[in-house]
Symmetry: C2
């Protein structure tokens, strides 16, 4: 039953050559005599050869695979990033191995360990906080790493993204300049980016002399969370007139809840999000959001990583790709 996969040797046996010739045919056909090529080709078609990376991983330590870690695979933010990554790795002949870690450092460590056990040639991480062990492993494996999204936290080697703190600060300033008096920040079970945004918000408020109002849910972000949290917030602070949400999911949930309750946006409550989710741009009113260069982030991260995999050593530790603010109609 378990009839071992065909190896180069099996093909070589059929055509009466050594596996070396078959190997050459697969990598550089022009090195093989035309008459031999036809024979090998025929044999391969008959047996159906599937390449085998294990020998090379073992003897050369190179897998032509790149590990990509996302906190959650359903997050649309990372869909664009992935497309950006693949736009670079695909033509370069590198295979992507995606894993997710549910925002848990411990799970991230497990995933990285697993990816490294397959000898990935490089890692793209979405988190800026790692366990001690994770750092040791990466160090020990000697693989290049690029961290994406945030450019605030000092990276392991290199960060590609934008300034979350500044994004929140600028958004807060817009609200202030529009005259809002009671601006709240809505966070969730957080990553450092959420915290960076909160800092930006707090700094902007402090400069203006306003008091900061922070709500942080212990749950992961979701549309549902945004919709549920509204009542709690209004119960504690009935007079807030603007809510800066950590991302579009929470903002959309809150916006939907407001509409159900009959609250007018932005007259009764202004709402802002983060990342420019398709949905936020379609609903009415149009959600104010920070538009981030997600595709570009993936692209640049992959480019940088490949450069370093191929030996480049002049690492730019921070590559900031900026952002844009879309005021929408919700502020």
């Amino acid at each position: 039953m378990k009839s071992k996969r065909t190896s180069l040797q099996d093909i070589a046996d059929i055509v009466g050559m050594t596996k070396m010739t078959v190997s050459r045919y697969l990598k550089n056909p022009e090195l093989v005599a035309p008459s031999s090529r036809v024979q090998i080709e025929t044999a391969i078609n008959k047996l159906g050869y599937i390449p085998n990376r294990a020998p090379n991983i073992l003897s050369k330590g190179k897998s032509y695979a790149i590990g990509v870690l996302f906190p959650s695979i359903s997050n649309h933010v990372f869909d664009e990033v992935l497309r950006g990554i693949e736009s670079i790795t695909e033509p370069a002949g590198y295979q992507i191995m995606i894993a997710h870690y549910a925002y848990s450092e411990q799970l991230e460590e497990k995933r990285i360990s697993s990816l490294l056990s397959f000898h990935v040639d490089g890692l793209i991480l979405s988190e800026s906080v790692h366990t001690q062990n994770t750092l040791r492993m990466i160090q020990g494996a000697g693989v290049p790493v690029t961290e994406i999204m945030d450019t605030r936290t000092p990276p392991i080697q290199q960060a590609v993204g934008f300034d979350n703190e500044d994004a929140a600060r600028q958004m807060t300033d817009r609200l202030l300049s529009k005259g809002y008096q009671n601006i709240a920040y809505i966070g969730a079970k957080g990553d450092v980016r959420d915290l960076a945004r909160q800092r930006g918000y707090e700094q902007a408020l402090k400069k203006s002399g306003q008091e900061s109002i922070v709500f942080r849910s212990p749950e992961f972000t979701s549309i549902r969370l945004g919709s549920e949290i509204l009542d709690d917030i209004l119960a504690i602070r009935p007079k807030i007139d603007a809510a800066i949400c950590t991302n579009d999911d929470v903002a959309i949930g809150m916006l939907v809840s407001c509409k159900k309750k009959g609250l007018r946006i932005p007259e009764d409550l202004a709402i802002t999000g983060m990342h420019g989710h398709e949905m936020g741009q379609l609903i009415s009113p149009n959600l104010a959001s920070v538009i981030t260069p997600r595709f570009k982030i993936g692209q640049v991260a992959a480019q940088q990583l490949l450069l370093r995999i191929n030996g480049a050593s002049n690492i730019e530790p921070f590559i900031d790709l900026g952002f844009e603010i879309n005021e929408g109609e919700s502020i």
Copy 2:
């Protein structure tokens, strides 16, 4: 610079034993003398050993990895499925390798080839249509395969999911029994599941004697697509009173558009979706949808796959996990 990763041999050298003893310590510590254990432990902590799967893949042909293919990683539907899969594979010590193929058979083939080149022990596929080459490769590699979501198309080996055709038929019947007279089906750049749903819809309509009205966009499904398509549909068929959308994204987009135009739901237009997206349950009116057992599908698929990886041969070709219909407020 490229200072080769520490191997079992490196650790063995430090403690003055052979790598075999170190290997034993890692797999069955109780086989190693307590005094040796401490020494090895210390050496490992100092050098930081990262496991290496390549030798075993090479010599035993087993990777303890399972390849999972999703059409798109941002699709929330597959997030739940993935959680279900991991709830089984994680405790069993299997690593998941996720890949996506953007609904393209050709890309699926490339991904499968790549996964097989890493000697994955099994595959979970989300598509029911494959290239000839894909089928040959799977056959040749001799790996167990489980296809998820649909239980209509004949599977390569086994399918775990629900009956898309029946789901659409039942939903159509609900609309008919509520008295709708002009029910349209809204599809997108489709997979077979979309087509199965269309069939179910058409059969239900035929039985009732109504004429079927099908709109199929050449684009991938998205909320935006749903919102854009509404005008086109109304232009061609102004008198439709119900729209069965291929999934919740399209339905939500359409619903949002209706609200913008001032159309009342369900009085002016009834709308139904598929899969029970969180957002659909939060918006007002609540979206009618088919609630599918996504977590369970992942769980059962993984269980079945592991059984077969471990030699089980009594394959149940179809495992139907059913669905529920949530009428919501939109019909």
